[in-house]
Protein backbone atom coordinates (compact mmCIF):
# COMPACT_ATOMS: atom_id res chain seq x y z
CA UNK A 1 0.00 0.00 0.00
CA UNK A 2 2.59 2.49 1.11
CA UNK A 3 4.89 1.52 -1.68
CA UNK A 4 2.85 3.29 -4.28
CA UNK A 5 2.91 6.60 -2.57
CA UNK A 6 6.47 6.42 -1.35
CA UNK A 7 8.50 9.24 -2.70
CA UNK A 8 12.24 9.50 -3.08
CA UNK A 9 14.12 12.66 -3.79
CA UNK A 10 16.16 11.14 -6.52
CA UNK A 11 16.64 11.38 -10.21
CA UNK A 12 13.84 10.01 -12.26
CA UNK A 13 14.38 6.98 -14.40
CA UNK A 14 15.62 7.93 -17.81
CA UNK A 15 12.99 5.87 -19.58
CA UNK A 16 10.26 7.98 -18.15
CA UNK A 17 11.62 11.20 -19.53
CA UNK A 18 10.24 10.52 -22.96
CA UNK A 19 7.17 8.65 -21.78
CA UNK A 20 3.67 9.98 -22.07
CA UNK A 21 3.65 12.50 -19.26
CA UNK A 22 0.00 13.34 -19.77
CA UNK A 23 -1.08 9.91 -18.69
CA UNK A 24 1.35 9.51 -15.83
CA UNK A 25 0.11 10.82 -12.57
CA UNK A 26 2.58 9.27 -10.18
CA UNK A 27 5.88 10.40 -11.74
CA UNK A 28 7.37 11.16 -8.36
CA UNK A 29 8.86 8.30 -6.50
CA UNK A 30 9.11 4.65 -7.27
CA UNK A 31 6.60 1.97 -7.28
CA UNK A 32 8.39 -0.47 -5.07
CA UNK A 33 11.89 -1.90 -4.90
CA UNK A 34 11.77 -3.50 -8.36
CA UNK A 35 10.92 -0.14 -9.83
CA UNK A 36 13.82 1.43 -7.98
CA UNK A 37 16.16 -1.33 -9.10
CA UNK A 38 15.03 -0.85 -12.66
CA UNK A 39 15.67 2.87 -12.44
CA UNK A 40 19.15 2.25 -11.06
CA UNK A 41 19.78 -0.34 -13.76
CA UNK A 42 18.80 2.15 -16.46
CA UNK A 43 21.56 4.39 -15.14
CA UNK A 44 24.05 1.71 -16.05
CA UNK A 45 22.90 2.26 -19.62
CA UNK A 46 23.50 -1.29 -20.68
CA UNK A 47 21.29 -4.03 -21.91
CA UNK A 48 19.50 -5.45 -18.94
CA UNK A 49 20.53 -8.89 -20.11
CA UNK A 50 24.16 -7.95 -19.59
CA UNK A 51 23.73 -5.92 -16.45
CA UNK A 52 25.99 -6.47 -13.50
CA UNK A 53 23.73 -7.55 -10.72
CA UNK A 54 26.60 -7.12 -8.32
CA UNK A 55 27.01 -3.47 -9.23
CA UNK A 56 23.25 -3.03 -9.12
CA UNK A 57 23.07 -4.53 -5.66
CA UNK A 58 25.76 -2.12 -4.53
CA UNK A 59 23.92 0.84 -5.93
CA UNK A 60 20.70 -0.22 -4.31
CA UNK A 61 22.35 -0.73 -0.94
CA UNK A 62 24.03 2.67 -1.18
CA UNK A 63 20.70 4.23 -2.02
CA UNK A 64 19.06 2.63 0.99
CA UNK A 65 21.95 3.76 3.20
CA UNK A 66 21.61 7.31 1.97
CA UNK A 67 17.88 7.23 2.56
CA UNK A 68 18.44 5.97 6.08
CA UNK A 69 20.96 8.72 6.78
CA UNK A 70 18.37 11.35 6.06
CA UNK A 71 16.00 9.29 8.17
CA UNK A 72 13.59 8.66 5.34
CA UNK A 73 10.95 6.19 6.38
CA UNK A 74 11.31 3.19 4.14
CA UNK A 75 8.57 0.71 3.43
CA UNK A 76 9.38 -2.79 4.52
CA UNK A 77 9.47 -3.98 0.89
CA UNK A 78 12.55 -1.87 0.26
CA UNK A 79 14.34 -3.17 3.30
CA UNK A 80 13.53 -6.76 2.45
CA UNK A 81 14.94 -6.22 -1.01
CA UNK A 82 18.05 -4.64 0.55
CA UNK A 83 18.53 -7.65 2.80
CA UNK A 84 18.04 -10.03 -0.10
CA UNK A 85 20.51 -8.09 -2.26
CA UNK A 86 23.07 -8.05 0.52
CA UNK A 87 22.67 -11.81 0.76
CA UNK A 88 22.92 -12.22 -3.01
CA UNK A 89 26.01 -10.02 -3.05
CA UNK A 90 27.74 -12.14 -0.45
CA UNK A 91 26.80 -15.29 -2.36
CA UNK A 92 28.12 -13.82 -5.59
CA UNK A 93 31.41 -12.82 -3.96
CA UNK A 94 31.98 -16.11 -2.18
CA UNK A 95 32.97 -19.26 -4.05
CA UNK A 96 30.01 -21.56 -4.71
CA UNK A 97 29.65 -24.42 -2.24
CA UNK A 98 30.36 -27.83 -3.71
CA UNK A 99 26.82 -29.12 -3.34
CA UNK A 100 24.52 -26.17 -3.42
CA UNK A 101 21.01 -26.69 -2.18
CA UNK A 102 18.64 -24.39 -3.93
CA UNK A 103 19.53 -22.13 -6.80
CA UNK A 104 23.05 -20.96 -7.30
CA UNK A 105 23.97 -17.32 -6.83
CA UNK A 106 24.27 -16.98 -10.61
CA UNK A 107 20.78 -18.36 -11.09
CA UNK A 108 19.43 -15.97 -8.48
CA UNK A 109 21.13 -13.07 -10.21
CA UNK A 110 19.73 -14.15 -13.58
CA UNK A 111 16.27 -14.47 -12.12
CA UNK A 112 16.49 -10.93 -10.78
CA UNK A 113 17.73 -9.64 -14.12
CA UNK A 114 14.84 -11.40 -15.83
CA UNK A 115 12.34 -9.87 -13.49
CA UNK A 116 13.76 -6.46 -14.27
CA UNK A 117 13.64 -7.18 -17.98
CA UNK A 118 10.07 -8.30 -17.69
CA UNK A 119 9.02 -5.23 -15.75
CA UNK A 120 10.73 -3.06 -18.31
CA UNK A 121 9.10 -4.95 -21.14
CA UNK A 122 5.64 -4.54 -19.68
CA UNK A 123 6.33 -0.83 -19.22
CA UNK A 124 7.30 -0.47 -22.82
CA UNK A 125 4.22 -2.40 -23.78
CA UNK A 126 2.02 -0.19 -21.65
CA UNK A 127 3.55 2.90 -23.24
CA UNK A 128 2.86 1.57 -26.66
CA UNK A 129 -0.63 0.61 -25.63
CA UNK A 130 -1.33 4.08 -24.33
CA UNK A 131 0.03 5.59 -27.51
CA UNK A 132 -2.42 3.73 -29.63
CA UNK A 133 -5.25 5.76 -31.01
CA UNK A 134 -7.73 5.82 -28.20
CA UNK A 135 -11.45 6.01 -28.40
CA UNK A 136 -12.84 9.42 -27.48
CA UNK A 137 -9.33 10.83 -27.54
CA UNK A 138 -8.09 10.22 -31.06
CA UNK A 139 -10.88 8.44 -32.79
CA UNK A 140 -14.55 8.82 -32.29
CA UNK A 141 -17.70 6.85 -32.70
CA UNK A 142 -20.85 8.31 -34.19
CA UNK A 143 -21.59 11.28 -32.00
CA UNK A 144 -25.31 11.26 -32.44
CA UNK A 145 -26.35 7.70 -33.02
CA UNK A 146 -29.84 7.08 -34.21
CA UNK A 147 -31.84 4.90 -31.99
CA UNK A 148 -33.33 1.82 -33.43
CA UNK A 149 -36.95 2.04 -32.58
CA UNK A 150 -38.37 -1.06 -31.10
CA UNK A 151 -41.87 -1.85 -32.20
CA UNK A 152 -43.33 -4.25 -29.76
CA UNK A 153 -46.03 -6.55 -30.84
CA UNK A 154 -47.66 -7.91 -27.77
CA UNK A 155 -48.98 -11.40 -28.10
CA UNK A 156 -51.62 -11.88 -25.53
CA UNK A 157 -52.22 -15.19 -23.96
CA UNK A 158 -55.44 -16.38 -22.46
CA UNK A 159 -57.16 -19.71 -22.63
CA UNK A 160 -60.78 -20.61 -22.89
CA UNK A 161 -60.47 -22.01 -19.39
CA UNK A 162 -59.28 -18.62 -18.12
CA UNK A 163 -62.23 -17.02 -19.83
CA UNK A 164 -64.85 -19.40 -18.50
CA UNK A 165 -63.41 -19.42 -15.02
CA UNK A 166 -63.43 -15.64 -14.97
CA UNK A 167 -66.99 -15.49 -16.25
CA UNK A 168 -68.37 -18.10 -13.92
CA UNK A 169 -66.50 -16.72 -10.95
CA UNK A 170 -67.72 -13.19 -11.34
CA UNK A 171 -71.33 -14.08 -12.17
CA UNK A 172 -71.41 -16.38 -9.21
CA UNK A 173 -69.66 -13.89 -7.02
CA UNK A 174 -72.34 -11.32 -7.79
CA UNK A 175 -75.07 -13.72 -6.81
CA UNK A 176 -73.26 -14.73 -3.65
CA UNK A 177 -72.44 -11.14 -3.00
CA UNK A 178 -76.14 -10.27 -2.56
CA UNK A 179 -76.45 -13.05 0.00
CA UNK A 180 -73.43 -11.59 1.58
CA UNK A 181 -75.02 -8.20 1.84
CA UNK A 182 -78.12 -9.76 3.43
CA UNK A 183 -76.00 -11.45 6.03
CA UNK A 184 -74.50 -8.18 6.95
CA UNK A 185 -77.96 -6.86 7.93
CA UNK A 186 -77.57 -8.53 11.26
CA UNK A 187 -79.63 -6.65 13.76
CA UNK A 188 -77.49 -4.97 16.24
CA UNK A 189 -78.74 -5.02 19.79
CA UNK A 190 -79.56 -1.35 19.68
CA UNK A 191 -81.44 -1.71 16.39
CA UNK A 192 -83.50 -4.56 17.77
CA UNK A 193 -84.12 -2.68 20.93
CA UNK A 194 -85.26 0.38 19.07
CA UNK A 195 -87.70 -1.72 17.02
CA UNK A 196 -88.95 -3.55 20.05
CA UNK A 197 -89.50 -0.34 21.89
CA UNK A 198 -91.59 0.80 19.00
CA UNK A 199 -93.45 -2.50 19.06
CA UNK A 200 -93.84 -2.52 22.78
CA UNK A 201 -95.32 0.90 22.60
CA UNK A 202 -98.19 -0.63 20.61
CA UNK A 203 -98.56 -3.80 22.62
CA UNK A 204 -100.51 -2.96 25.66
CA UNK A 205 -101.44 -6.55 26.29
CA UNK A 206 -99.63 -9.84 26.00
CA UNK A 207 -98.60 -10.41 22.45
CA UNK A 208 -96.77 -13.16 20.68
CA UNK A 209 -93.25 -11.95 19.93
CA UNK A 210 -92.96 -14.17 16.88
CA UNK A 211 -95.89 -12.53 15.24
CA UNK A 212 -94.37 -9.15 15.66
CA UNK A 213 -91.05 -10.33 14.48
CA UNK A 214 -92.44 -12.06 11.45
CA UNK A 215 -94.54 -9.11 10.48
CA UNK A 216 -91.43 -7.04 10.72
CA UNK A 217 -89.05 -9.36 8.91
CA UNK A 218 -89.55 -9.49 5.17
CA UNK A 219 -86.83 -11.87 4.17
CA UNK A 220 -87.17 -15.30 5.72
CA UNK A 221 -83.41 -15.67 5.66
CA UNK A 222 -83.18 -12.92 8.25
CA UNK A 223 -85.46 -14.66 10.65
CA UNK A 224 -82.81 -16.26 12.79
CA UNK A 225 -80.73 -13.16 13.27
CA UNK A 226 -83.73 -10.96 13.91
CA UNK A 227 -85.12 -13.43 16.37
CA UNK A 228 -81.86 -13.77 18.24
CA UNK A 229 -81.23 -10.06 18.47
CA UNK A 230 -84.78 -9.33 19.44
CA UNK A 231 -84.75 -11.91 22.17
CA UNK A 232 -81.57 -10.52 23.60
CA UNK A 233 -82.99 -7.04 23.41
CA UNK A 234 -86.22 -8.18 25.04
CA UNK A 235 -84.31 -9.61 27.96
CA UNK A 236 -82.53 -6.32 28.27
CA UNK A 237 -85.80 -4.41 28.27
CA UNK A 238 -87.20 -6.77 30.90
CA UNK A 239 -84.16 -6.22 33.04
CA UNK A 240 -84.66 -2.51 32.74
CA UNK A 241 -88.28 -2.91 33.71
CA UNK A 242 -89.73 -1.67 30.43
CA UNK A 243 -91.35 -4.93 29.42
CA UNK A 244 -92.61 -8.25 30.62
CA UNK A 245 -92.04 -11.63 28.99
CA UNK A 246 -94.12 -14.72 29.36
CA UNK A 247 -93.61 -18.24 28.10
CA UNK A 248 -95.81 -21.18 29.04
CA UNK A 249 -93.28 -23.90 28.38
CA UNK A 250 -89.94 -24.51 26.71
CA UNK A 251 -90.16 -23.72 22.99
CA UNK A 252 -93.64 -22.35 23.48
CA UNK A 253 -94.35 -18.98 21.89
CA UNK A 254 -93.04 -16.00 23.78
CA UNK A 255 -95.49 -13.37 24.87
CA UNK A 256 -94.58 -9.93 25.88
CA UNK A 257 -96.25 -6.77 26.92
CA UNK A 258 -95.36 -3.30 27.95
CA UNK A 259 -94.89 -3.29 31.61
CA UNK A 260 -97.98 -1.79 33.16
CA UNK A 261 -97.39 1.21 35.39
CA UNK A 262 -96.65 -0.13 38.88
CA UNK A 263 -97.73 1.21 42.20
CA UNK A 264 -94.56 2.64 43.69
CA UNK A 265 -94.52 0.17 46.58
CA UNK A 266 -95.06 -2.96 44.52
CA UNK A 267 -91.61 -2.98 42.90
CA UNK A 268 -90.42 -6.00 44.86
CA UNK A 269 -92.89 -8.60 43.59
CA UNK A 270 -91.93 -8.18 39.95
CA UNK A 271 -89.00 -10.41 39.24
CA UNK A 272 -90.30 -13.93 39.53
CA UNK A 273 -87.01 -15.61 40.07
Amino acid sequence: MTAEILSFETGRPAELADGEPALVVDVEGYEGPLDLLLALARQQKVDLAKISILALADQYLQFIEAARKIRLELAADYLVMAAWLAFLKSRLLLPEPATPDGPSAEEMATALANRLRRLEAIREASNRLMNRPQLQRDIFPRGDPETIAEIRHPRFTATLFDLLTAYAAQRQQRVLASVHLAKRTVWSLSEARASLERLVGMAEDWSCLDEYLMSYVVDPSQRATVFASSFAAALELVREGEMELNQKAAFAPLYFRKRPPQPSGAMSDLPVE
Binding site: D144, A149, R152, F156, L160, L164, A166, Y167, A168, Q170
Partner: protein, 238 residues
Protein backbone atom coordinates in the same frame (compact mmCIF):
# COMPACT_ATOMS: atom_id res chain seq x y z
CA UNK B 1 1.95 9.92 -31.96
CA UNK B 2 4.52 7.86 -33.77
CA UNK B 3 2.30 4.85 -33.49
CA UNK B 4 -0.63 6.85 -34.77
CA UNK B 5 1.24 7.59 -37.92
CA UNK B 6 2.11 3.95 -38.19
CA UNK B 7 -1.49 3.03 -37.77
CA UNK B 8 -2.49 5.28 -40.59
CA UNK B 9 0.15 3.79 -42.85
CA UNK B 10 -1.21 0.36 -42.04
CA UNK B 11 -4.66 1.47 -43.01
CA UNK B 12 -3.38 2.93 -46.18
CA UNK B 13 -1.70 -0.32 -47.03
CA UNK B 14 -4.86 -2.27 -46.42
CA UNK B 15 -6.86 0.00 -48.65
CA UNK B 16 -5.96 -0.22 -52.29
CA UNK B 17 -7.22 3.28 -53.07
CA UNK B 18 -5.00 6.32 -52.81
CA UNK B 19 -6.10 8.60 -49.97
CA UNK B 20 -4.99 11.60 -51.97
CA UNK B 21 -7.53 10.89 -54.66
CA UNK B 22 -10.19 12.47 -52.49
CA UNK B 23 -9.95 16.07 -51.33
CA UNK B 24 -8.78 16.13 -47.73
CA UNK B 25 -11.45 18.63 -46.71
CA UNK B 26 -14.13 16.08 -47.46
CA UNK B 27 -12.47 13.65 -45.07
CA UNK B 28 -12.28 16.33 -42.41
CA UNK B 29 -15.90 17.29 -42.82
CA UNK B 30 -16.95 13.67 -42.73
CA UNK B 31 -15.11 13.03 -39.51
CA UNK B 32 -16.36 16.19 -37.82
CA UNK B 33 -19.97 15.65 -38.78
CA UNK B 34 -19.84 11.98 -37.91
CA UNK B 35 -18.41 12.51 -34.45
CA UNK B 36 -20.44 15.53 -33.50
CA UNK B 37 -23.16 14.97 -30.97
CA UNK B 38 -25.35 17.56 -32.66
CA UNK B 39 -25.87 19.06 -36.09
CA UNK B 40 -23.23 21.66 -36.93
CA UNK B 41 -23.72 24.88 -38.84
CA UNK B 42 -21.31 26.16 -41.44
CA UNK B 43 -19.72 28.55 -38.98
CA UNK B 44 -18.93 25.85 -36.45
CA UNK B 45 -17.45 23.71 -39.19
CA UNK B 46 -15.37 26.59 -40.56
CA UNK B 47 -13.88 27.17 -37.12
CA UNK B 48 -12.59 23.62 -37.00
CA UNK B 49 -11.43 23.33 -40.57
CA UNK B 50 -8.13 24.57 -41.96
CA UNK B 51 -8.22 28.09 -43.39
CA UNK B 52 -9.05 28.60 -47.02
CA UNK B 53 -11.45 25.70 -47.40
CA UNK B 54 -14.65 26.48 -49.24
CA UNK B 55 -16.92 24.87 -46.70
CA UNK B 56 -20.07 25.48 -48.66
CA UNK B 57 -18.75 23.82 -51.78
CA UNK B 58 -17.29 20.94 -49.79
CA UNK B 59 -20.59 20.36 -48.02
CA UNK B 60 -22.43 20.37 -51.33
CA UNK B 61 -20.00 17.84 -52.72
CA UNK B 62 -20.27 15.67 -49.63
CA UNK B 63 -24.04 15.84 -49.78
CA UNK B 64 -24.03 14.72 -53.38
CA UNK B 65 -21.60 11.90 -52.59
CA UNK B 66 -23.79 10.60 -49.80
CA UNK B 67 -27.10 11.10 -51.56
CA UNK B 68 -27.09 7.56 -52.90
CA UNK B 69 -25.85 6.02 -49.69
CA UNK B 70 -27.59 4.49 -46.75
CA UNK B 71 -26.54 7.55 -44.80
CA UNK B 72 -27.27 11.00 -46.16
CA UNK B 73 -25.87 14.36 -45.31
CA UNK B 74 -28.90 16.46 -44.47
CA UNK B 75 -29.42 20.04 -43.47
CA UNK B 76 -31.78 20.70 -40.64
CA UNK B 77 -32.44 24.31 -39.73
CA UNK B 78 -29.22 25.31 -41.46
CA UNK B 79 -27.19 22.78 -39.55
CA UNK B 80 -25.62 19.75 -41.09
CA UNK B 81 -25.73 16.21 -39.89
CA UNK B 82 -25.59 12.64 -41.11
CA UNK B 83 -28.84 10.74 -41.00
CA UNK B 84 -29.78 7.32 -42.20
CA UNK B 85 -31.62 7.56 -45.50
CA UNK B 86 -35.31 8.16 -45.07
CA UNK B 87 -36.27 5.25 -47.28
CA UNK B 88 -34.48 2.93 -44.86
CA UNK B 89 -36.61 3.92 -41.89
CA UNK B 90 -38.02 0.41 -41.86
CA UNK B 91 -34.53 -0.88 -41.20
CA UNK B 92 -34.23 1.30 -38.13
CA UNK B 93 -37.04 -0.44 -36.36
CA UNK B 94 -36.87 -3.68 -34.62
CA UNK B 95 -40.06 -5.60 -34.33
CA UNK B 96 -40.37 -7.79 -31.35
CA UNK B 97 -43.22 -9.86 -30.14
CA UNK B 98 -43.62 -10.20 -26.47
CA UNK B 99 -46.00 -12.54 -24.82
CA UNK B 100 -48.23 -10.83 -22.34
CA UNK B 101 -50.74 -12.31 -19.98
CA UNK B 102 -54.03 -10.55 -19.73
CA UNK B 103 -54.81 -9.12 -16.33
CA UNK B 104 -57.60 -10.76 -14.38
CA UNK B 105 -59.75 -7.70 -14.88
CA UNK B 106 -59.24 -7.86 -18.64
CA UNK B 107 -60.20 -11.51 -18.81
CA UNK B 108 -63.32 -10.84 -16.77
CA UNK B 109 -64.37 -7.99 -19.00
CA UNK B 110 -63.63 -10.08 -22.07
CA UNK B 111 -65.75 -12.90 -20.72
CA UNK B 112 -68.67 -10.59 -20.09
CA UNK B 113 -68.37 -9.08 -23.54
CA UNK B 114 -68.29 -12.56 -25.00
CA UNK B 115 -71.44 -13.76 -23.21
CA UNK B 116 -73.42 -10.55 -23.06
CA UNK B 117 -72.57 -8.87 -26.35
CA UNK B 118 -73.58 -6.41 -27.53
CA UNK B 119 -72.83 -4.84 -24.21
CA UNK B 120 -71.97 -1.34 -23.07
CA UNK B 121 -69.33 -0.41 -20.60
CA UNK B 122 -71.99 0.53 -18.07
CA UNK B 123 -73.58 -2.89 -18.46
CA UNK B 124 -70.24 -4.57 -17.96
CA UNK B 125 -69.80 -2.60 -14.78
CA UNK B 126 -73.29 -3.51 -13.69
CA UNK B 127 -72.47 -7.19 -14.06
CA UNK B 128 -69.04 -6.98 -12.49
CA UNK B 129 -70.00 -4.56 -9.77
CA UNK B 130 -66.79 -2.58 -10.28
CA UNK B 131 -65.72 0.29 -12.46
CA UNK B 132 -63.86 -0.82 -15.56
CA UNK B 133 -60.68 1.17 -16.10
CA UNK B 134 -60.11 2.61 -19.54
CA UNK B 135 -56.83 0.76 -19.64
CA UNK B 136 -58.56 -2.60 -19.37
CA UNK B 137 -60.74 -1.93 -22.39
CA UNK B 138 -57.73 -0.54 -24.28
CA UNK B 139 -55.75 -3.69 -23.68
CA UNK B 140 -58.68 -5.75 -24.91
CA UNK B 141 -59.04 -3.60 -27.99
CA UNK B 142 -55.29 -4.05 -28.55
CA UNK B 143 -55.71 -7.80 -28.52
CA UNK B 144 -58.09 -7.45 -31.41
CA UNK B 145 -60.49 -9.81 -29.70
CA UNK B 146 -63.18 -7.23 -29.06
CA UNK B 147 -64.50 -4.40 -31.16
CA UNK B 148 -66.91 -1.55 -30.72
CA UNK B 149 -69.85 -2.59 -32.85
CA UNK B 150 -72.44 0.12 -32.47
CA UNK B 151 -74.08 2.57 -30.15
CA UNK B 152 -76.95 1.74 -27.84
CA UNK B 153 -80.08 3.75 -28.49
CA UNK B 154 -80.20 5.04 -24.95
CA UNK B 155 -79.38 8.43 -23.48
CA UNK B 156 -75.68 9.06 -23.90
CA UNK B 157 -75.64 6.59 -26.80
CA UNK B 158 -72.90 4.45 -25.26
CA UNK B 159 -70.69 2.23 -27.44
CA UNK B 160 -71.61 -1.41 -27.56
CA UNK B 161 -68.86 -4.00 -27.63
CA UNK B 162 -68.72 -7.42 -29.16
CA UNK B 163 -66.14 -10.07 -29.96
CA UNK B 164 -64.30 -10.55 -33.23
CA UNK B 165 -63.26 -13.44 -35.40
CA UNK B 166 -59.82 -13.17 -33.82
CA UNK B 167 -61.53 -13.95 -30.53
CA UNK B 168 -62.96 -17.16 -31.92
CA UNK B 169 -59.62 -18.21 -33.32
CA UNK B 170 -57.78 -17.36 -30.11
CA UNK B 171 -60.08 -19.54 -28.06
CA UNK B 172 -60.50 -22.22 -30.73
CA UNK B 173 -64.21 -21.67 -31.00
CA UNK B 174 -65.94 -22.48 -34.22
CA UNK B 175 -68.75 -20.14 -33.37
CA UNK B 176 -69.68 -18.04 -30.40
CA UNK B 177 -72.55 -20.40 -29.68
CA UNK B 178 -69.88 -22.96 -28.75
CA UNK B 179 -69.36 -21.07 -25.51
CA UNK B 180 -70.78 -23.30 -22.79
CA UNK B 181 -74.19 -22.38 -21.43
CA UNK B 182 -75.53 -22.45 -17.89
CA UNK B 183 -75.97 -26.19 -17.62
CA UNK B 184 -72.57 -26.91 -19.14
CA UNK B 185 -70.90 -24.47 -16.79
CA UNK B 186 -72.61 -26.14 -13.88
CA UNK B 187 -71.63 -29.52 -15.27
CA UNK B 188 -67.96 -28.59 -15.30
CA UNK B 189 -68.22 -27.31 -11.79
CA UNK B 190 -67.36 -23.78 -12.82
CA UNK B 191 -70.75 -22.63 -11.61
CA UNK B 192 -72.17 -23.62 -8.28
CA UNK B 193 -75.15 -25.92 -8.81
CA UNK B 194 -77.03 -24.30 -5.93
CA UNK B 195 -77.36 -20.95 -7.65
CA UNK B 196 -80.71 -19.22 -7.22
CA UNK B 197 -83.40 -20.04 -9.70
CA UNK B 198 -83.38 -16.68 -11.40
CA UNK B 199 -79.78 -17.08 -12.41
CA UNK B 200 -79.21 -17.36 -16.13
CA UNK B 201 -76.41 -17.29 -18.62
CA UNK B 202 -77.21 -15.64 -21.92
CA UNK B 203 -76.88 -17.53 -25.18
CA UNK B 204 -74.15 -15.44 -26.77
CA UNK B 205 -74.21 -14.33 -30.38
CA UNK B 206 -71.71 -12.26 -32.31
CA UNK B 207 -74.01 -11.69 -35.23
CA UNK B 208 -72.59 -8.52 -36.78
CA UNK B 209 -76.08 -7.33 -37.68
CA UNK B 210 -77.04 -4.51 -35.35
CA UNK B 211 -79.73 -5.15 -32.77
CA UNK B 212 -82.86 -3.13 -32.73
CA UNK B 213 -81.55 -1.02 -29.89
CA UNK B 214 -78.24 -0.38 -31.62
CA UNK B 215 -77.22 2.41 -33.94
CA UNK B 216 -74.29 1.98 -36.31
CA UNK B 217 -70.91 3.35 -35.34
CA UNK B 218 -70.15 6.86 -36.46
CA UNK B 219 -67.02 8.09 -38.15
CA UNK B 220 -64.37 8.54 -35.52
CA UNK B 221 -65.83 6.04 -33.09
CA UNK B 222 -63.05 3.60 -33.77
CA UNK B 223 -60.33 6.12 -33.11
CA UNK B 224 -62.13 7.10 -29.96
CA UNK B 225 -62.29 3.60 -28.69
CA UNK B 226 -58.66 2.96 -29.52
CA UNK B 227 -57.30 6.16 -28.07
CA UNK B 228 -54.62 5.48 -25.47
CA UNK B 229 -55.69 5.61 -21.91
CA UNK B 230 -54.91 8.76 -20.04
CA UNK B 231 -53.22 6.92 -17.23
CA UNK B 232 -51.18 4.09 -18.60
CA UNK B 233 -50.41 2.91 -15.08
CA UNK B 234 -53.98 1.93 -14.50
CA UNK B 235 -53.75 -0.91 -17.01
CA UNK B 236 -52.88 -3.65 -14.67
CA UNK B 237 -54.58 -2.71 -11.49
CA UNK B 238 -57.39 -4.72 -9.99
Amino acid sequence: MASLAEKRKDDAEEAPADPQARPEELRLLEALLFASTEPLDQGALAKRMPDGVDIKAALAQLQAEYATRGVNLVRIANKWTFRTAGDLAWLMTRETTETRRLSRAAIEVLAIIAYHQPVTRAEIEEIRGVITSKGTLDVLLETGWIRPRGRRKTPGRPLTFGTTEAFLSQFSLEALSDLPGLEELKGTGLLDSRLPTGFSVPTPSDDPALREDEDPLEIGDLELALAPAVEPESDDKS
